[in-house]
């Protein structure tokens, strides 16, 4: 099972952090910092794998990939295959690349919810759901269309006093 998906830039700023089991915010931060400090100390041209029991508990592995200014990180347990996880990062990046044509850190920063949409299509509840880039794209596209449609309707600001009053 995949435990977490993270993206962070080379300064250690988190760009996306999704944990498939709930963790309190402080713990999440601790893990993000911990992962970053390990990653940033790794030399180049070494393997993309790390055994990271010290942060995520026994039998935790981590696969990361470094693209330009971003680290893509997957944390998972022994029931996944390291090399396959490496390819999963590849799938994610390829998909994002198709979404944003030449994805860069900025795209990711400013399209937070879309990023999550893409990720949710690929990894679902900690399991790999879909690895076909085209399928993911199709799903994301449909959602975007529908969102755009519904968005245009709601462009007219409505009074929301109704549901504020519900408090």
């Amino acid at each position: 099972m995949i435990k977490a998906v993270m993206m962070m830039n080379t300064q250690g700023k988190p760009r996306l952090a999704k944990f498939y089991d709930f963790l309190p915010v402080e713990k999440q931060q601790e893990l993000i910092r911990g992962v970053f400090s390990v990653l940033s100390s790794r030399p180049e041209n070494v393997s993309n794998f790390l055994e990271i029991d010290s942060l995520f508990g026994p039998d935790s592995r981590l696969v990361y990939k470094h693209y330009a200014t971003l680290y893509f990180v997957l944390v998972f347990d022994g029931s996944e295959n390291e090399l396959a996880m490496l390819d999963l990062i590849q799938v994610l990046v390829e998909t994002l690349d198709k979404c944003f044509s030449n994805v860069c850190e900025l795209d990711i920063v400013f399209n937070y919810s879309k990023l999550h949409t893409v990720l949710d299509e690929i990894v679902f509840g900690g399991q790999v759901l879909e690895t076909r880039t085209d399928e993911v794209m199709k799903a994301v596209e449909e959602i975007s269309k529908l969102e755009a449609a519904s968005n245009s309707i709601s462009l007219v600001p409505k009074s929301v006093s109704g549901w504020r009053g519900g408090r």
Partner: protein, 937 residues
């Protein structure tokens, strides 16, 4: 595609519907991006939180604005700040009909809330509605949300809908419904146990994607219960065959590999099913062979499948041909330039080596390359492999390597792990005891604060016991070499505390044993240690005890003892120490110096740490004393059971001082102190010192005990009902202690210790049996690592278990054991049984402490024990002198003596009080002479 591109860009520009809609938000992201320091970032985020708090309170927030706020909240929380003030708004947003807003709401709540959050209850209804929606995207969004938001209690609320969705026309929905069910299964297997057949059904889904998704839950189910899925073996094999033959639509290809993720899942499942099952394995041979042939090892994903095949083969019962193919694949991995593949190769090697141990030999050079690789991950994996292939012929090389690596790293977590592995290997395969001690010294020196304290005790025991009783010469050589190595190391700066404890103990025990070093030399060294590590009370305690032993041996052998001036000043310093333990030891040492040779010898016999001790459980040797006491007017002991039955009578007697609430809540937990649960607390474990008087703490010294007792018994009366309710069973179970004669209290309560002590000695490692097997060709690392395979590791392991249990280590301790202040089992519920278990720690610690505890009180009881225990007759003078010491040293609170009238129960009471004081966290500052005054009459 083009369209998407533009959408993406537009989103990035914040022109519509995307993330950053307002300038404010863009500014926020930008300023955070530009923040130079964490502090600056925090400042920006905090002000953003203020803004959001204010804005969220405004009435009539347009929905689009609200959506942006929510996204900002998510962003803030990702940066590590609390956004809980806005959770409710995210929850509300999930109720919205607009898909965009709904999805945003769901996204936010899945990130914000855990499944047990109070707000979840507000979402369940929405989820239920959405799962029934006609729009499959809404359904998908809801399915996504339930993975994170539904807990065991709420599963039934959505389960029917999710099951319905298994037959939804859209495969995307079916897939997600399966995953959601899988998630439920993980959270609460019982809630979906009746639905498991659905997974089997979905395996035959028309859509390969849905079939692939089904493999995830099936993998979990099969790993829980292999037997009931054996019938699926051929199905899985045929699916895998079809996949490899490219029967799936082209769209499932990834890097020219047909559906690789499905293949990997299938291989994992097959590994489970074929494990230990010859017939199931045979069905798989064909397809596995095909995979090895077909797999494209030029792509990453192809190698992933190859690796999975290797892993599968290592689990099932393989055919020789497959093993060969796997070995080939591994050698390809190892020869590759990619670190990733090397890593997988080493991992695969580690798996296969269990089946064919000689497989590693052909890759020895590659393995050594990996060992010297700068990549830490690879290195660690290689150490793991070496660890798996260690045998007595290569243990020296491997452990040396491990220690070198251990010294070179800073990562404490891994350091601990590798240190414990070194210890484990050394204990298992040590060719000689000298080597073992050397290795232990290195481990302690470099990772002393990280290794388990048991390791230290093992080492001490090894040194104490040596090879076995028939070879005294070798033993003393071993000890001498240990002493010499420690004398060398001892002057190095900043040694870990644990190591110093070992050093002090060994020096105390054997420093002067063979006459090579003089007592004053060793004691000087020990004083240096105590000086240099003056902040470490445990080390100081060990050092003082060691001093005491040295002097004791000197006295016993009839030599005159010159206490070095620095020792004298150390003792004086410790006499005034804030630590009772140290103070106690210092007084003991002082008392010991005044004793004559015979007394000293019976207190601290030479090299007696491994002698067997006989424990007189009934404490029959006290019978005479009891008789005497009763004759002289003492009240006979009333067992607890009786006491609880007739409460009024307890009033006359002082013994019933145990706290009152304890009657209500103390339970079995106290009876069997578990050594493992003992916090290794330095000051308490060293010497089971009778705790300093409770009176001086809780009452004024002058306050007589009877007063307090009356109080307590009154309270006790009041709480009678409670006791009736809770107390009875515990009394019964604890009566072994209370039914014995009064003075027995001490002894009986310490029985558990003795038991624990001796039992924990049993898993003694098999040093004695290991004959030195020295690999002659150490020069070549490879040769030494892989050559000369004698017995396999597993043999060793199994055999090592059967070695004779250690002979009782501690001869003395149990004799003195009455001293450890064991709170009687009926003692109270003040929290953890720290005080109780203190004495039950590692037998060695105990031993260590006890050996030295010839203090006033400690010594005296011991002597008592020796008398009637048919031990060598000890002079009464020792008792006298001890007593005089005792009264000298307790000038501080003379009042405590007054109330003592030779009652056994009193001593018990004192024990209780001591324990109580301890448990209340009070640091006792004076001795407790009451206890032994009692015992001695």
């Amino acid at each position: 595609m083009e369209q998407l591109k533009t959408i993406g860009r537009e989103l990035a520009m914040g022109s519509q519907g995307g993330f950053g809609q307002s300038k404010e938000f863009l500014d926020l992201v930008k300023s955070i991006g530009e923040a130079r320091s964490k502090a600056e970032e925090d400042r920006i985020v905090l002000s953003e939180i203020d803004i959001l708090k204010r804005k969220l309170l405004e009435p009539d927030i347009p929905k689009r604005k609200m959506k942006e706020y929510i996204i900002r909240l998510v962003y803030i929380e990702m940066l590590g700040h609390d956004a809980s003030f806005g959770y409710i708004h995210a929850v509300k947003m999930t109720h919205d009909d607009n898909l965009l807003l709904k999805r945003t709401g769901y996204l936010a709540v899945t990130l914000f809330l855990n499944e047990d959050h109070d707000l979840i209850i507000l979402i369940v209804n929405t989820i239920q509605k959405d799962l029934r929606s006609d729009n499959y995207l809404v359904v998908c969004a809801a399915l996504n949300a339930i993975c994170r938001l539904i807990n065991e209690e709420t599963i039934p609320a959505v389960l029917p809908q999710v099951v319905d969705l298994l037959n939804h026309q859209k495969e995307a929905v079916r897939k997600k419904a399966i995953m959601a069910l899988h998630r439920f299964h993980r959270k609460s297997p019982s809630s979906v146990s009746h639905l498991i057949s659905n997974f089997r059904k979905r395996l035959c889904d028309n859509d390969p994607g849905v079939m692939g998704a089904t493999l995830c839950p099936l993998f979990d189910l099969i790993s829980e219960d292999v037997a009931s899925y054996k019938d699926l073996v051929s199905s899985f094999v045929s699916i895998l065959k079809q996949v490899t033959e490219r029967r799936l639509p082209k769209s499932y290809d990834y890097h020219q590999m047909p559906a690789p993720f499905i293949q990997i899942k299938l291989l994992k499942i097959m590994a489970l099913l074929g494990s230990g099952d010859k017939s199931a394995s045979e069905i798989m041979y064909m397809v596995l062979g095909d995979l090895f042939r077909k797999c494209d090892s030029s792509t990453n994903i192809g190698n992933a499948i190859l690796y999975e095949c290797i892993r599968c083969i290592s689990c099932i019962i393989p055919s020789p041909k497959l093993l060969e193919a796997a070995a080939d694949a591994i050698s390809k991995f190892l020869k590759s330039d990619s670190h990733n593949l090397k890593y997988m190769g080493i991992d695969g090697l580690g798996r296969l080596i269990k089946i064919s141990p000689d497989i590693a030999e052909q890759h020895q050079l590659a393995v050594i390359d990996c060992l010297e690789d700068p990549d830490d991950t690879l290195k660690r994996k290689t150490f793991e492999l070496l660890y798996k292939m260690t045998k007595s012929s290569n243990v020296e090389v491997i452990v040396d390597r491990m220690i070198d690596y251990m010294i070179s790293i800073n990562d404490n977590h891994y350091k601990t792990e590798i240190a414990s592995r070194c210890v484990e290997l050394a204990e298992q395969f040590a060719p000689s005891n000298q080597w073992f001690i050397q290795i232990m010294n290195k481990v302690f020196e470099h990772a002393g604060d990280l290794v388990n304290i048991k390791v230290a005790h093992n080492l001490m025991r090894l040194i104490a016991e040596g090879f076995g009783e028939d070879d005294d010469d070798a033993d003393s050589k071993l000890r001498l070499s240990a002493v010499e190595s420690y004398l060398q190391i001892i002057s190095e700066p900043k040694l870990p505390s644990l190591f110093l404890q070992v050093i002090s103990w060994v020096l105390g025990e054997y420093g002067t044993a063979d006459g090579k070093y003089s007592a004053s030399y060793i004691s000087g060294k020990l004083c240096d240690v105590a000086d240099a590590y003056s902040s470490d009370e445990t080390v100081k305690g060990y050092a003082v005890s060691a001093l005491m032993k040295i002097y004791a041996f000197e006295i016993a052998s009839g030599r005159k003892v010159d206490v070095l001036p620095e020792c004298q000043s150390l003792i004086e310093e410790l006499l005034a120490s804030h630590s009772t333990d140290l103070q106690q030891r210092a007084y003991e040492l002082q008392a010991l110096l005044a004793l004559d040779a015979r007394a000293v010898e019976s207190i601290l016999p030479l090299d007696a740490s491994c002698e067997d001790i006989e424990v007189d459980k009934d404490l029959s040797f006290l019978n005479g004393y009891i008789q005497q006491a009763i004759e002289s007017g003492a009240q006979p002991y009333i067992s607890e059971r009786e006491r609880s039955g007739m409460l009024e009578t307890t009033d006359y007697h002082s013994q019933d001082h145990h706290e009152v609430p304890p009657h209500a809540l103390r339970f079995e937990a106290y009876e069997r102190p578990k050594p493992s649960s003992v916090p290794t607390q330095a000051s308490t474990e060293l010497v089971p010192v009778p705790e300093p008087s409770y009176y001086s703490e809780a009452h004024q010294p002058i306050s007589t005990s009877s007063v307090s007792e009356r109080e307590s018994s009154e309270i006790k009366l009041r709480l009678d009902g409670v006791k009736q309710k809770w107390g009875r069973p515990s009394y019964q179970s604890s009566t072994s202690a209370s039914s014995t004669p009064p003075q027995a209290e001490n002894g009986t309560s310490s029985h558990p210790d003795v038991g624990v002590g001796s039992s924990s000695l049993k898993p003694r490692s098999s040093y004695e049996s290991k004959k030195p097997e020295i690999d002659p060709e150490k020069q070549r690392l490879a040769a030494s690592l892989f050559g000369g395979s004698s017995s396999s590791r597993s043999d060793r392991k199994s055999s090592s278990g059967g070695h004779k249990p250690a002979k009782g280590t501690a001869s003395k301790p149990p004799k003195e054991n009455p001293i450890p202040v064991q709170p009687p089992p009926d003692l109270l519920d003040f929290g953890e049984p720290t005080a109780t278990s203190v004495t039950a720690t590692d037998p060695f610690k105990e031993l260590e402490g006890l050996m030295d505890s010839s203090s006033q009180d400690g010594g005296s009881t011991d002597v008592m024990g020796l008398y009637s225990d048919a031990a060598p007759v000890t002079t009464t003078t020792s008792v006298d002198s001890l007593l005089s010491e005792l009264s000298d040293s307790s000038k501080g609170n003379p009042g405590t003596y007054q109330s003592q009238t030779s009652k056994g129960p009193n001593s018990k009471e004192a024990l209780e009080k001591d324990a109580l004081v301890r448990q209340m966290g009070v640091n006792p500052t004076s001795q407790n002479p009451t206890l032994f005054k009692d015992l001695l009459g």
